[in-house]
Symmetry: C2
Subunit: 194 residues, 2 copies
């Protein structure tokens, strides 16, 4: 969503990084409700407008700081659908299991629930990069003949993100080494016999 | 969780029902944070101790009032694994899509996140009835030769509940007639070719 704004002059990237780091630190120290744009700006050593030029508000900034890591780096390309989905799921697991994510999630969800315009942007902006990565994974799987019919990208993305949120974020289950692969198997292979 | 406490004398059942109804109404009117045990007791026409005899506190009461419907009624028995899982998922969809659930979820999640003892009881008490229903569904599927290997009941339950929460509760996607069957298919059949 705002990742492309980090490109450009080195000073812009440093400012972007300083703001994102300060956001994560403030969430860890004070939680979501206790973190303000003012406080983030202070900690990052920037003015408030440096933040508002880049993000519309707190939910967008916190989302990018804590939940957009799954959108960066090369798109998984392991050679199999299950392998690619497992890697994408691992990135989700790594994000949801951080203390900052656990601290931020209820407040972030409350802001989304209270603001219909924000919810609308969830699909079109927040989740667009993750969706694009999944589309690429599914295109390659389709070319290999690994995907049955038309994959419902949004529903599958919601299923994986929801599973990780519920299992790790909410239930507090441990991040075992096998978890991502197990979730990927449930979704790609299914639990039924063939 | 507290469903068996509703059994017994008719007056006990009426009290139980009055408290549960009042809870749902208060959540609809005032949201989760704005709903107190005092206010629920008032609206239900009971004393606070009538509530505390039955539930340890607000999260448990709200959870039962809004999210335990999936635990009641006969266990799905359609003859196929996919059919049974679709019915269980439909009950989840019906619950998460209510305005009261949407209103309560962020605050309920915040209480769970803030209280480790409450989180521990999530698995052992709150979700135990839903888990038992899924175990019964899997036992029958196993006897029919429909289940591959050992089904990871908790992970699959978390996947379905998480998918519904994320897709319907958070993203606000519509409750189409096909949604539950589509989610059940993802989990039982998988998206990969065979």
């Amino acid at each position: 969503m705002a990742t492309d704004r980090a490109a450009g002059r080195p000073r812009d990237r440093r400012t972007h990084e300083a703001i994102v780091s300060a956001t994560e630190e403030m969430i860890m120290l004070h939680g979501y409700a206790g973190t303000s744009i003012n406080a983030i700006a202070s900690r990052a050593g920037v003015g408030k407008d440096a933040i508002y030029r880049r993000w519309p508000g707190k939910p967008e900034l916190v989302y990018e700081a804590l939940f957009a890591r799954v959108d960066t780096g090369p798109v998984p390309d392991t050679g199999t659908l299950a392998g690619d989905v497992a890697q994408l799921t691992q990135a989700l697991v790594d994000e949801f299991a951080t203390p900052a994510a656990t601290a931020a999630l209820p407040g972030l969800l409350a802001d989304f629930a209270a603001d219909p315009a924000l919810r609308t942007r969830l699909r079109s902006a927040f989740l667009a990069p993750a969706r694009a990565r999944m589309v690429e994974i599914f295109d390659r799987a389709g070319a290999r003949g690994e995907i049955a019919g038309t994959a419902q990208v949004d529903l599958i993305l919601d299923t994986l993100a929801g599973a990780v949120f519920f299992h790790v974020g909410l239930m507090g289950e441990p991040r075992t080494a096998e978890l991502a692969a197990q979730l990927a198997d449930i979704v790609t292979t299914g639990i039924g016999t063939r």
